[in-house]
């Protein structure tokens, strides 16, 4: 194992993810249309119902569709993370995950490559969405389109690591529908993606507490602040911490000496 070998393997994994992504145009379209429906339909309805007070990082009153853009970027990455997870469970059942795992490289490295490649794809989707939103008149400061990049990398890695962890824990493809109900929807709705948390506190202190502990809230806030050239250290720290936790657990889950792969039906 050499540095050159590691680099070549990473290039190979990234190329495969990119090729697969390009081949699946429906997936790209779905990834784009889903947040656009929120932006153009839901936001129009909610706009009347919700007033947004001036809260950081915003400096003026903002229309609702501006508020939800970072949340929708988070949603794109959340879906992408779960989609990778689904394809890994599928690959494990079908076998192509094995091809990866029997490569003569440390397993944590192979998983990290897979995660990075998935994050790369999610960032492409996020920028495509930002471009379309811009076209519909939902704009961020120009510089924000650059400063949001590191935030998207971090949130993409965190949500991708969550997907990796889930893929190591899910036995069969059939169980995947449960993920939709018990992970994606609660994570999305119980966060600051759709409404600011102070609004949530007004209606239910309990829900507010749950939202505050949701790592997705912090991923969204990291993106929100970065999109306005601002920095939210608390949100970044929690997103980073969640990333480290999810990735460590996922590596344990794929460890040959323990975890999922051992059980009958797995691997």
């Amino acid at each position: 194992m050499t540095a050159m070998h590691c680099l070549r393997a990473f290039q190979g994994i990234l190329t495969r993810e990119a090729l697969r992504f390009l081949q699946q145009r429906e997936r790209f379209l779905a990834a784009l249309v889903r947040p656009l429906i929120w932006l153009l339909v839901f936001a129009a309805g909610f706009r009347a119902a919700l007033g947004i007070a001036i809260i950081p990082p915003y400096e003026t009153y903002i229309p609702y569709e501006v508020y939800i853009v970072p949340g929708l970027l988070g949603m794109i990455q959340l879906f992408n993370g779960m989609q990778s997870s689904l394809s890994m469970v599928y690959d494990r059942e079908m076998g192509s995950m094995r091809t990866l795992l029997v490569s003569p490289l440390p397993r944590w490295y192979l998983l990290a490559c897979k995660l990075t490649a998935g994050t790369f794809v999610s960032i492409l989707q996020a920028y495509a969405f930002l471009a379309v939103a811009f076209f519909f008149g939902v704009e961020a400061p120009l510089l924000g389109y650059a400063t949001v990049l590191p935030a998207l990398v971090l949130s993409g890695l965190m949500l991708g690591a969550l997907g990796l962890l889930l893929s190591s824990a899910i036995r069969q493809l059939e169980n995947f529908a449960g993920i939709m109900n018990f992970v994606i929807f609660p994570m999305f709705f119980l966060s600051s993606a759709l409404y600011p948390l102070w609004k949530m506190r007004e209606s239910s202190p309990w829900l507010y507490e749950i939202c505050r502990f949701n790592p997705f809230t912090h991923a969204v806030e990291t993106i929100r602040f970065a999109l306005y050239g601002d920095f939210n250290p608390w949100a970044v720290a929690i997103t980073l911490g969640s990333f480290a936790l999810f990735l460590s657990l996922a590596v344990l889950g794929y460890d040959p000496a323990r975890g999922m792969m051992r059980r009958k039906g797995g691997a």
Binding site: M4, G12, R16, E93, G95, T99, P104, A257, R262, A267
Partner: protein
């Protein structure tokens, strides 16, 4: 490829010793031990559920054995897993190609995982595809290939990095008789021409050639192992089919 160390040069292609494995409380493999000498074709014969796929997963290091040691070309799977994996080419029972990518894209992905440079990879891909008569289909999507062709691509892929041990887990499953025969013959030739050691798992007795070595696995235990002639003599039967019935029946009656 650097020259192998002298200690590993003389080592068996595969050495399995005292391997045990449980799925929960249910034992899947018990004290499995056998050796595959360099350049031989060894058939791992056993009925469905004998533990062949479990044994393959352990040798491929998808997970560790509960007890025992496995060494590939002298490299212990636990102490030097990366060296051991480098020496191995694996064809799993389920197809593992990306259907929407071309044959070339699939093979280049594998070459990258094995750390091969672009030039070396392209040369090896061409050479192996020619050998398996698949060169003309290099740019076709795998989805458009039939089962036999997909298998050939998978075997070609497993050979790209010049492994010393080739593992195949029931590679002819779902193929028609002529295709099966062609693939069986092809892999037998590999042993002769390239000196590769092969472990071929199957439950089909007609895939065995008279010169092969055999490991007979039943209910997680090795019932017999060695050259075909020796096993026939030991069992006192004329054919492997009879030997198989006799050796597995004796144990289940005991």
């Amino acid at each position: 490829m650097s020259a192998p160390k002298s200690e590993t040069r003389n080592a068996a292609a595969l050495n399995v010793e005292g391997v045990r494995f449980h799925y929960g409380a249910k034992p899947a493999l018990q004290d499995v031990a056998f050796t595959i000498p360099v350049g031989t074709f060894t058939v791992l014969l056993g009925p469905n559920g004998a533990g062949k796929t479990t044994l393959f997963s352990l040798i491929a290091r998808l997970y560790h054995a509960t007890h025992g040691t496995i060494a590939v070309a002298g490299h212990d799977l636990r102490r030097a897993p990366l060296s051991a994996l480098t020496e191995m080419g694996i064809v799993f029972q389920q197809p593992t190609l990306d259907l929407d990518l071309s044959v070339l894209q699939n093979l280049r992905y594998h070459a990258a995982l094995r750390g091969m440079g672009k030039k070396d990879a392209l040369e090896r891909i061409d050479a192996e595809l020619r050998r398996f008569d698949m060169f003309e289909r290099k740019h076709e999507k795998v989805r458009t290939l039939n089962g036999g062709h997909r298998r050939r691509v998978e075997i070609a892929r497993a050979l790209l990095h010049r492994p010393r041990l080739l593992l195949l887990d029931e590679p002819t499953i779902g193929l028609d008789v002529p295709t099966r025969k062609a693939i069986v013959d092809h892999v037998h030739n590999l042993c002769k021409t390239d000196g590769i050691a092969v472990l071929w798992a199957t439950h089909l007795i007609d895939e065995i050639a008279p010169s092969d070595r055999l490991v007979l696995l039943d209910a997680g235990r090795v019932r017999a192992k060695g050259a075909i002639a020796d096993i026939l003599q030991m069992a006192g039967t004329a054919t492997i089919g009879e030997a198989f019935t006799k050796l597995t029946a004796k144990e289940s009656a005991a």
